[in-house]
Amino acid sequence: MAAKKKKATTKAVRKKVPSKKTGAKAGAGSKVAQESARLDRLTVDLICSTAKDVHREILKRNKPDLTFPVRSLKNVSYSTKRGYFEIGKQKKTRTLTVNTVKSFAQTLRMMGLSKELVEGNDFATKRDAYYQSKNWGEAKFDEQPESDTVMDDIEALFSLRGASREQLRFVPDEHGGAVAGQLIVLDPDRETGEVERIDCTRFGSGAYSIPSNVEHLSFETDAKFVLAIETGGVFQRLQSHKFWQSSNCVLVSLAGVPSRATRRFIRKLSDECRIPVYAFVDCDPYGISNIYRTLKVGSGNAAHISQFFCVPQAHYLGVTPQDIIDYDLPTHPLLDVDIKRAKDALKNDPFFQTHKPWQKAIEQLLKMGVRAEQQALAKWGLNYVIEEYLPQKLDQPAKFLP
């Protein structure tokens, strides 16, 4: 059942944005417009039925409640078969009491905003929503984190019923990473439906920037793999030496923990063009348990969307703890926070608990008590990473970590 739902929603997400209006104007694919209209109706129905339940209870003089899935790493399961974090069955019920009346009101107002956006065919970023709330009188949010939490709760609530954040017309503020290499991105215009062909080899020394919404994009490529890179510095080096040309690949800069859009972009690219994804990050607990883990299986507090916003087919190319020894890399000692993070990953993270090789690697790192950055390879020459390290690693995919 889950698989069926997944299929349906993926499709929905992908084709949502071309609006009713666009569809009508362009006349291109009335099917798409119909589908989008159906999904919008579904979203509005979901919002209305939730509100009706609340209304009914109030009329019965009962205390209404709303049930949300618990968003935390504790309520997450992982199986290699599915390949991403799945949100568990733990629920929190927010009953309308004296103490919760404020957040209850804010939740309802936020749902109201969502309905308005769908009906007006518009969207709002988290920041927009926060400023919108300033019109809500007493129900306004004082700080953005408050409104973000309410929005994430609503998103999780509706994800249980098969609607994504994008369907609620809430979009992320964060911009995506940078892309360069053997790839043409097909981007249809929102108004006209005219498709723009973006050649990612033709950005010179710059790069293509992933937009915040990628569902409407499609790709043309004959690249052999996607290389996801943690730091901008290494991305710059590979890009300026046209590494993508010599090894026929697509380079993506993650810029720290990858944003939803970046994850979704890589996922779509890999799914649609059937090419593998390799991650190249720092060898430290942050690089491993935050950046790579989030890229591959999603994050703990947004597990309800991991289904779409992760890249289960990604593999860890380096830098591995073993590389530190093999390549005799310069290191820094692990800080207390690093050690805590690594131990936490071993103890609490279902992803690392499932994969034996990862447990060994992290234990090895803890035992060595050091960390090494991607750029440490520069010890052997600035272009060592291009000329020696990556080709050697790419020759031995068996050595990649899961």
Binding site: K52, R61, V101, K102, L108, R109, M111, G137, E138
Partner: protein
């Protein structure tokens, strides 16, 4: 001048040692070649001169032995203390040794110097010894009585006058009506007038009461009263006389049919005796009472040590007294303040008690044996002490191995000591408690209510307890909230026998007990080991026949563990009461906040639903009313 003397002495010493070091080499030569060695001769001369000079300057020795002792005695008489006598003694030694040295080398003048080494003998010294008048002593050591600085002098003067008035009224059974007025005559000069409706003082007694120190009615008995030593008011008068030269002016009348007397007194400090400057019979509208007027150098300041604070505090602890206070510069500080009485009942009259054996020290015990009128030791123990029956007296003496029939005057020191030990080893009843008069829980609370604007009041009167054989009783009053400042250390009013203690807060057992109480248990903030912080005023009263003060100025209570424990128990009892109040207050505030919360956010829930479900305004209002009643029912608001 003393320094220059010492300098000369040191120089002389140096020269001598130099001369000495050269002697082993050519002692005989020198003597042989006396006329030739001019240098050594002149140095000898100089040395002799120097020693004579130092001796002379100290007015003790040298060539005129008959004259110098007179000088010395005159001088020491001026300073009149033993210390100065001793200080003149000590240099004698150095002069002596020096004289020896010069005698060795200089021969002939040695005899004279040797005779003069003893500057004076015992009989000379005896002439210097003489009685010190109490008045003289206190004139010099005014800080011991609370006249260390101008502002404190003003406070002490008011305090002594008011204390005396209150004591007198209570003893006579009169409900006190006291008027205190202070007027500023010049920048540093004040006139203090204290007028009461007490029993008055007989004309014959007036000069002694106000004109000599240590003349009083309260020192020789064990009974709860404010004053003890009989120093206070006469010391204030003396201070006034010393600083302004003005006499102390007294008007007193003992009854409707008696004359009112008006006297002006000065104290002869040497004789500790009054001198009457004026003595008239006057018309006075008061039927009985006393009016004391003292002019003194002082300073009028605000704050916790001020006269204003004193008046406020004393009226709290004496709710039966009406005190009218006229501060200086009435136009600035407001005219009359009337601290009206809260009750018309005088405090219970206290009984005088005999000392309890547990609290008597060996020396006192021996003195009591010497002074007693009893015929034998047993009856002495029985009659001169409280809580000693014939049976216990026999028991004590048996333990001490002293025959009960021995005459008290014939008890030896050793026997007295074993009696003293036997007393401590014998179980005795606690001393009688009718000697203490508490203010009472109800009156403390009423007084606080009338003087302090707060939201909550509590008071506790503990049962009497005993330290070193002396009964005492602790009372605690507490005011919380209202206009009291919330972010400051709590105010603590300390009282001993209804008299406020305003100085040396840090040294007092009361402060120690307050800081040692866990106020956090009672919903208050408290830095570790310090006084609590919050909108609270504490009033702690210790009533006892003998309050143990840390010093004669009677400003802080000594740290007896029994006393600290009792104070703490009293504070805890009040603390529990205030904690209940604070918790209740918080619950109410909480409920109020929640009620406001509901009013604020329920309409927003309704608006949200209206928006989503396109409801009309009637439906929206229905949601508001339904939800409000549902939530209020569930909260039992």
């Amino acid at each position: 001048m003393a320094d220059s003397k010492r300098l000369t002495a040191r120089k002389a010493g140096q020269k001598r040692s130099r001369a000495k070091s050269s002697t082993p080499k050519s002692k005989a030569d020198k003597r042989a070649a006396k006329p030739r060695s001019k240098a050594s001769k002149s140095s000898t001369k100089l040395r002799t001169k120097a020693s004579a000079k130092t001796a002379k300057s100290r007015a003790k020795v040298s060539a005129k032995p008959t004259k110098s002792p007179t000088k010395a005695s005159a001088k020491s008489a001026k300073s009149r203390t033993k210390v100065s006598a001793r200080s003149t003694k000590s240099p004698t030694k150095s002069t002596k040794s020096r004289a020896k040295g010069s005698a060795k080398s200089a021969g002939s003048p040695a005899k004279v110097v040797k005779d003069s080494t003893r500057r004076s003998n015992a009989s000379d010294l005896a002439k210097q010894h003489r009685d010190i008048s109490v008045s003289e002593f206190f004139a010099k050591n005014r800080h011991l009585l609370g006249f260390d600085n101008p502002s404190k002098a003003l406070l002490t003067t008011v305090k002594e006058g008011v204390d005396n008035s209150l004591d007198a009224c209570e003893e006579a059974g009169i409900i006190p009506d006291i008027r205190v007025s202070i007027s500023q005559i010049s920048e540093t000069r004040f006139r203090v007038i204290i007028e009461d409706n007490g029993p008055g003082i007989l004309r014959a007694q007036v000069p002694k009461v106000f004109g000599s120190l240590l003349y009083g009615s309260k020192f020789h008995r064990l009974r709860q009263s404010r004053g003890q030593q009989g120093i206070g008011i006469s010391a204030a008068g003396m201070y006034g006389l010393l600083t302004t030269g003005k006499p102390i002016i007294i008007t007193t009348r003992t009854g409707r049919k008696k004359d009112a007397h008006h006297l002006e007194l000065v104290i002869d400090t040497k004789l500790n005796a009054p001198k009457i400057k004026r003595d008239d019979v006057v018309e006075w509208d008061k039927q009985h009472g006393t009016r004391v007027e003292i002019e003194l150098e002082g300073a009028y300041r605000g704050g916790q040590h001020s006269v204003d604070a004193y008046i406020r505090q004393i009226s709290l602890a004496n709710p039966h007294a009406e005190i009218t206070y006229v501060p200086p510069k009435a136009e600035e500080h407001g005219a009359e303040h009337v601290f009206s009485r809260v009750t018309n009942d005088l405090p219970k009259e206290t009984a005088e008690i005999k000392p309890h054996p547990y609290g008597v020290e060996l020396g006192v015990l021996m003195q009591m044996f010497r002074d007693t009128a009893a015929r034998n030791v047993r009856s002495c123990l029985q009659t001169d002490f409280s809580r000693v029956s014939a049976k216990t007296a026999t028991e004590i003496l048996k333990k001490a191995n002293v025959p009960p029939t021995r005459r008290p005057g014939e008890v030896s020191r050793d026997q007295a000591e074993s009696i003293h030990q036997a007393i401590q080893a014998t179980k005795l009843m606690a001393p009688p408690m009718d000697c203490i008069a508490p203010i009472g829980e109800e009156l403390i609370e009423r007084a606080l209510r009338s003087e302090v604007s707060a939201a909550f009041y509590a008071s506790v009167s503990r049962r009497p307890a005993v330290y070193r054989g002396n009964p005492f009783l602790i009372e605690v009053g507490l005011a919380y909230g209202g206009d009291l400042p919330a972010d400051q250390t709590v105010t603590a009013y300390r009282y001993a026998n209804r008299v406020p203690l305003q100085y040396q807060q840090g040294a007092c057992a009361i402060t120690k007990a307050i800081a040692g109480t866990e106020w956090r248990n009672y919903q208050m903030q408290q830095p570790r080991g310090a006084m609590p912080v919050g909108p609270m005023l504490l009033m702690v009263h210790i009533a006892s026949v003998w309050v143990p003060f840390t010093s004669e100025s009677k400003e802080a209570i000594a740290h007896y563990p029994e006393i600290i424990k009792e104070i703490r128990l009293g504070l805890q009892e009040c603390g529990r009461k205030v904690a209940t109040h604070i918790r209740k207050q918080r619950r109410e505030a909480d409920a109020e906040k929640k009620r406001a919360y509901i009013v604020k956010y329920i309409p927003q829930v309704a608006i949200g639903l209206q928006q989503i479900l396109s409801l009309n305004d009637g439906q929206r209002d229905k949601i508001v009313s339904n939800l409000t009643s549902t939530l209020e029912k569930s909260r039992k608001l």
